[in-house]
């Protein structure tokens, strides 16, 4: 029902307004309740009569106020809405809300949710039954009261796939008979089956489409191309030039997930595709776990990476080493140095390595292979292996590939090879010719000092020209290549050491190896390979692009993984197969995004919900205020509201108002700055906070008794609001559920660390966990500490100043005497000087101290000064507690005196100098 610009969701309640006059009469008739008072003077009152025999009636203004309150209550409960949305098309009859429910809807899901709620509100106001249908998971529409859908809305969240064409057709079949209005919340992407469904829907009633005008972006799976990660982004609608950022996520060497690199991509005007190459060091590339378009929270903007970008396994095999011990002359020395940073090196006998299926096998000056070895290698190479061979004296002297081409050699070789520029030969050492265009090395710079003085020579063959990928300036082949099945064999016509050429000494060697090794990317398995295999999901993507553990999802057939589109039975994610991992992304390599072309007769609107203002809350609040005023007025009328008392109440309410935060903060900081105050970070877990407080109190008492440090009562610090610079030491107990501080808080923490503050992180789990991410606390610590400016760490070395600032300590137990404690690493050049008992380490206080020994619990004392928690058993336990206290004393001394004790080293020298 509507009245002018105001509509009501429950108009029948307004009938109650008719009862107001009755209420007026009732209220008028009933006098205010009497006050009972004890009063000795009543004896004098006996017999006195009231002059006015009429009862003391409620004054008219009070009655009016009460009437207004009740009226506001009734109108408020009737659910008034200012400017309710008017549906001119169909204000009655059932309504069907169709959701695409695909990954492309995930980005605006909150907006869509708000829109659906608005639609439900409208439907509730008009008492229209509503049905909800999600095309990614279609079910026959069931029309129910609009309010019943509210609770079910969260179950209609988008799914990480698109509605399949057959699902659309199925949905069209499910619609059944009857007419209804349709609201279609489209994701804006064109796909097969839309027309079918649209026709079916229009046959049953008007259809309105809600679509976000914001363009949908997608990211195709990344590919390796020429050593760089090739990234292609798509957009559904061509438009103006637009720049996006692709983030490469992965784990850093410490295992912490972070953004490893970013790549800006630009959609040119009227282009729907943007390409770019992310050139990463192989070491980094191997760590990539996913690529994501920044700011787009949907599965289509995420590309999971799999083994195709991972670190390769390279097996190095040399001929028999007869010159034992001469490392620089070893055939494999330069190879190892070149490959170590980027690849996993395997070192074993050839027959042992082959079953491990390495990506690359390098044979350095290996001439003859046994039959089994050769057969195995061939089979491996045909399946995609890359065999790299280096020449050498042994190969030159052998008959391998002499008269006819050996299967594992790219070319036939002439006997003996050649030597140029040597003491016994003519000519100068040869340099390299520029790489031909079809060569994988094309584009690499050739340093001038790379010379070749000896090589094995290829026999001229018809196929030779195709197989040469690098040659010398005189045109003789230096590197040749032959494809074997899906694999290849590459021959360097020089040795892998510096004997025949200076190539292994140059950076070019590394680049060439990288190009070769990179070009041996693990390709997508073909259908035949995965037929009949079962792949287990490891991680799955949800529609908003977040990764989650797959849990107990069933395995999928390999064939489906390669061919099938993602859907309910094949979720996008990371799958583990017999020997590798495979990423299945929402966007397939050939995928194109296209906008929907709705028929011109359709109504297509945005997702914004029309502006309508519910007034019920305001009216109810007004009613409440009026009733409060009524209480005060009634009290005043009956003489119970004493002016002084009322003033006192108002005053008390004013006093109870919170003080300005600044004043409190400054007071706290002042108190902390006037004395040495140990502080602990408030975690939000009351028990942990209390323990930390009691622990620091216990440590403070110990310091008080034993040292000249006399700390004040410890303070709990809220990182978001409190000033940190006044605390010399922050004890930070780690709990899994504590909130991550805000960016501003981290900025202050970093400033605190840089200016000499110390944070003692305590994961409190040394009894059950080792160092690292093994425990929830450890993982939380990593997340907490990631934005902090923390230098490299190392376990406390035996000569760290912490071991002798007050007591001589060797370990640092708390409640647990568990594991190592980590401090800032010593500079690499710290050396022990002769005659000094310890090294001269860092010149300042370590900014963090990380451990898990639960020190606060060992330190904790109650008000009476007795320990709260037991430590260990019996005397040994008390000894451990004592050591914990000693650690605390040393720590505070370290914080307050820095490396003073380290400087004691120089005392003998100083005394010596003074003596002269």
């Amino acid at each position: 029902m509507t009245l002018g610009a105001i509509g009501f969701t429950a108009p029948w309640l307004l009938l109650a307004l008719a009862a107001l006059p009755v209420l007026w009469l009732l209220l008028r008739a009933v006098p205010p309740a009497p006050v009972r008072r004890r009063f000795p003077g009543v004896a004098l009152l006996l017999g006195l009569r009231d002059d006015d025999s009429v009862t003391d009636r409620t004054p008219w203004w009070l009655l009016l106020m009460r009437m207004l309150a009740v009226a506001a209550l009734i109108v408020g409960l009737a659910g008034p809405v200012l400017k309710p949305q008017q549906d001119e098309a169909a204000a009655s009859g059932p309504m069907l809300i169709v959701l695409d429910g695909s990954w492309a809807s995930a980005r605006d899901w909150p907006t869509r949710q708000a829109l659906i709620e608005t639609l439900l509100d409208d439907a509730a106001r008009a008492a229209r039954p509503v049905a909800l249908m999600r095309l990614t998971d279609p079910e026959p529409p069931v029309f129910r009261a609009a309010d019943a859908w509210r609770g079910l809305l969260s179950g209609a969240a988008p799914l990480p796939w698109e509605p399949a064409p057959d699902a659309m057709v199925r949905a069209a079949d499910m619609l059944g008979e009857g007419t209804f209005e349709t609201r279609w919340l489209s994701d804006g992407l064109n796909r097969e089956g839309r027309e079918t469904l649209l026709t079916a829907l229009r046959a049953r009633g008007p259809v309105t489409v809600h679509e976000s005008p914001a363009p949908i972006l997608g990211l195709r799976p990344a590919r390796i191309n020429d050593g760089a990660v090739e990234v292609t982004a798509l957009r559904a609608r061509p438009g103006t030039e637009r720049e996006i950022t692709v983030e490469a996520h992965g784990r850093d060497p410490s295992g912490t997930p972070r953004v490893l690199a970013t790549l800006p991509l630009t959609f040119a005007q009227d282009e729907t595709e943007a390409q770019g190459a992310l050139s990463l060091p192989a070491e980094l590339r191997a760590r990539l776990s996913r690529l994501e378009i920044a700011g787009q929270h949907h599965a289509g903007a995420v590309s999971l990476t799999d083994d195709s970008l991972r670190r390769r396994e390279v097996a190095l095999i040399a001929g028999r080493e007869d010159r034992e011990g001469l490392e620089l002359l070893s055939q494999l020395h330069y190879l190892e140095r070149a490959l170590e940073p980027t690849a996993d090196l395997l070192d074993a006998a050839l027959t042992d390595i082959l079953p491990a299926n390495p990506d690359v096998i390098v044979l350095a000056d290996v001439a003859t292979l046994s039959g089994a070895e050769q057969a195995g290698l061939l089979e491996w190479a045909e399946a995609g292996g890359l065999l790299v061979r280096f020449a050498g004296p042994r190969l030159a002297a052998s008959d391998v590939s002499r008269s006819e081409e050996a299967p594992l050699m790219p070319v036939r070789l002439r006997a003996g090879g050649r030597s140029v520029g040597g003491t016994m030969s003519w000519g100068e050492p040869k340099s390299l010719a520029p790489f031909p265009e079809q060569s994988p090395f094309f584009g690499l710079d050739i340093p001038g000092d790379v010379t070749v003085s000896a090589q094995v020579m290829a026999q001229p063959d018809p196929t030779l020209a195709d197989r040469v990928i690098a040659q010398l300036s005189d045109g003789t082949p230096l590197v040749t290549r032959k494809r074997i099945g899906t694999g290849q064999v590459v021959l360097f016509h020089v040795t892998a050491n510096a004997e025949w050429s200076t190539l292994p000494l140059s950076g070019l060697f590394v680049q060439m190896l990288e190009r070769l090794a990179v070009s041996s990317t693990v390709a997508l398995p073909d259908l035949a390979q995965v037929e009949g295999t079962t792949w287990q999901p490891v991680q799955v993507l949800d529609a908003s692009g977040d990764q989650a553990d797959a849990g107990t999802l069933p395995g999928v057939d390999g064939a489906a993984l390669v061919t099938g589109p993602v859907g309910p039975g094949l979720r996008p994610g990371l799958y583990e197969g017999p020997d590798r991992r495979l990423a299945l992304n929402v966007m397939t390599p050939g995928k194109v995004l296209a906008p929907v072309a709705w028929p011109a007769s359709m109504t297509v609107t945005g997702l914004e919900k029309p502006a309508q203002t519910p007034l019920g809350g305001w009216l109810l609040a007004a009613a409440l205020l009026l009733l409060c005023a009524d209480i005060a007025a009634t009290l005043a009328l009956s003489g119970r509201l004493w002016p002084t008392r009322a003033a006192a109440l108002v005053l008390a309410a004013l006093l109870a108002l919170p003080q300005p935060v600044d004043a409190q903060e400054i007071d706290k900081a002042l108190a902390a700055a006037s004395e040495v105050t140990l502080a602990h970070v408030l975690t939000g877990n009351r028990r942990v906070d209390e323990t930390a407080h009691a622990g620091l109190r216990g440590l403070g008492d110990t310091l008080h008794f034993r040292t000249s440090v006399e700390p004040a009562e410890p303070a709990g610090v809220d990182l978001e609001t409190d000033e940190l610079s006044v605390y010399p030491l922050l004890y930070w107990p780690v709990t899994p559920e504590q909130p991550i501080p805000s960016a501003e808080a981290y900025a202050r923490l970093n400033a605190y660390l840089r200016t000499g503050g110390l944070i003692l992180f305590d994961t409190r789990d040394a009894d059950i966990a080792g160092f690292g991410a093994a425990s929830p606390n450890g993982q939380k610590l990593q997340r907490l500490a990631r934005p902090l400016d923390i230098p490299p760490l190392e376990p406390v070395p035996a000569d760290h100043v912490l071991t002798r600032t007050f007591y001589l300590l060797q370990d640092f137990p708390g409640r647990y005497a568990g594991r190592q404690v980590w401090v800032e690493a010593a500079p690499p050049d710290a050396e022990r000087v002769e005659g000094m008992p310890f090294r001269n380490l860092n010149d300042n206080v370590t900014p963090v101290l990380i451990g898990g020994n639960d020190w606060a619990t060992a330190w904790a004392i109650n008000e009476a000064g007795n320990p709260i928690y037991p430590v260990g058993r019996g005397y040994a336990g008390e000894r451990q507690r004592e050591m914990a206290y000693r650690f605390g004393v040393n720590l505070v001394m370290h914080v307050l005196t820095g490396n003073y004790k380290s400087d004691q080293v120089h005392v003998p020298a100083l005394l010596d100098r003074l003596g002269q």
Binding site: P34, F39, P40, V42, A43, L44, L46, D50, D56
Partner: protein, 298 residues
């Protein structure tokens, strides 16, 4: 007694504190017979006693042995040496312990009973110091002297009664003794009249001290109210309490006037004390009232 002990102790210490601020009060007896016993304090008139009072010229009828020859030798006339007349008088105190006395209109104000007991005991201590014998009227605590009596007084004063309004007791008052009645006198005036007349008939003179709460004086109530007596036996309902104020105050004034008239008629003194005023001023007034009693007799 168990629970009353700390109360009586505190009451006594506070009373001692009040009493310490005043000089010793000398009561004066107007009548000798029966009740007069020698005390150690002079009565500021010649009589039987140990201390010197005055020399007066010999009058006819004086015995020769009364002449003070040492004084007479220094002049021509002869003098008689008079000694101060020392007596101990018995004072009976009655303090209303009814429920009405436990009224206090504000937390900051003491209940009327509290103030009444304090004043009564302070006066008792002053009298004791002056050598009088003090007892409680209407109870089996006859007038006696000494600190032990003060303890007994303090203990007896802490007893509360459940009746709504108290009536003065004239029993236990020695004839020609003195009496002090402390109450709010809001109850039945006839009982007061009876007691006072009975006491006056036996030659007792005394002080009537009316203790009132400021609220009882000002009647600051408004609105529809049911007034109940402290014991709950009396009840009066009004629709507009504020309109009763004037008539109530008129009645209170009439009651005060009646009490005053009653006192004038019997030779008693009437005093009014509000619990919002200081106890010191009330004690001072009591002191002066006793003075005035003696002065009037002089």
């Amino acid at each position: 007694m168990n629970h009353a002990a700390p109360l009586s102790a505190s009451l006594r210490s506070r009373a001692e504190a009040e009493a310490a601020r005043l000089p010793a009060l000398l009561a004066r007896a107007e009548h000798l017979a029966g009740t007069v016993l020698l005390g150690e304090h002079g009565r500021r008139r010649a009589g039987m006693g140990d201390d010197f009072w005055q020399y007066r010229p010999v009058q006819a009828g004086d015995e020769r042995r009364h002449i003070d020859w040492r004084r007479s030798a220094r002049s021509d006339s002869q003098f008689v040496r008079q000694r101060e007349w020392q007596i101990a008088q018995s004072v009976a105190i009655w303090v209303d312990n009814s429920a009405a006395m436990r009224f206090a209109s504000d937390k900051a104000l003491p209940p009327k009973a509290d103030r009444a007991r304090l004043l009564a005991l302070a006066v008792a201590i002053l009298l004791n110091r002056a050598g009088e014998r003090v007892g409680l009227a209407g109870t089996d605590l006859p007038p006696r002297r000494g600190n032990a009596q003060m303890m007994r007084l303090a203990e007896a004063l802490t007893h509360d009664s459940d009746i709504d309004f108290g009536h003065p007791q004239s029993t236990g008052i020695a004839a020609h003794g003195r009496a002090l009645f402390v109450s709010d006198f809001l109850g039945d005036i006839d009982a007061v009249r009876t007691a006072l007349t009975a006491a006056a008939d036996r030659g007792v003179q005394g002080i009537l001290l009316q203790v009132l709460d400021p609220a009882e004086e000002a009647f600051p109530y408004r609105g529809r109210t049911i007034f109940e007596s402290m014991g709950g036996t009396l009840r009066h309902e009004t629709l507009k309490a504020s309109e009763l104020r004037d008539r109530y105050q008129a009645r209170l004034a009439a009651r005060k006037a009646e009490l005053r008239t009653l006192c004038t008629g019997t030779g008693w003194q009437y005093g009014l004390h509000h619990t919002s005023d200081s106890a010191q001023s009330a004690l001072l007034w009591l002191y002066r009232a006793f003075e005035a009693g003696t002065g009037g007799a002089r």
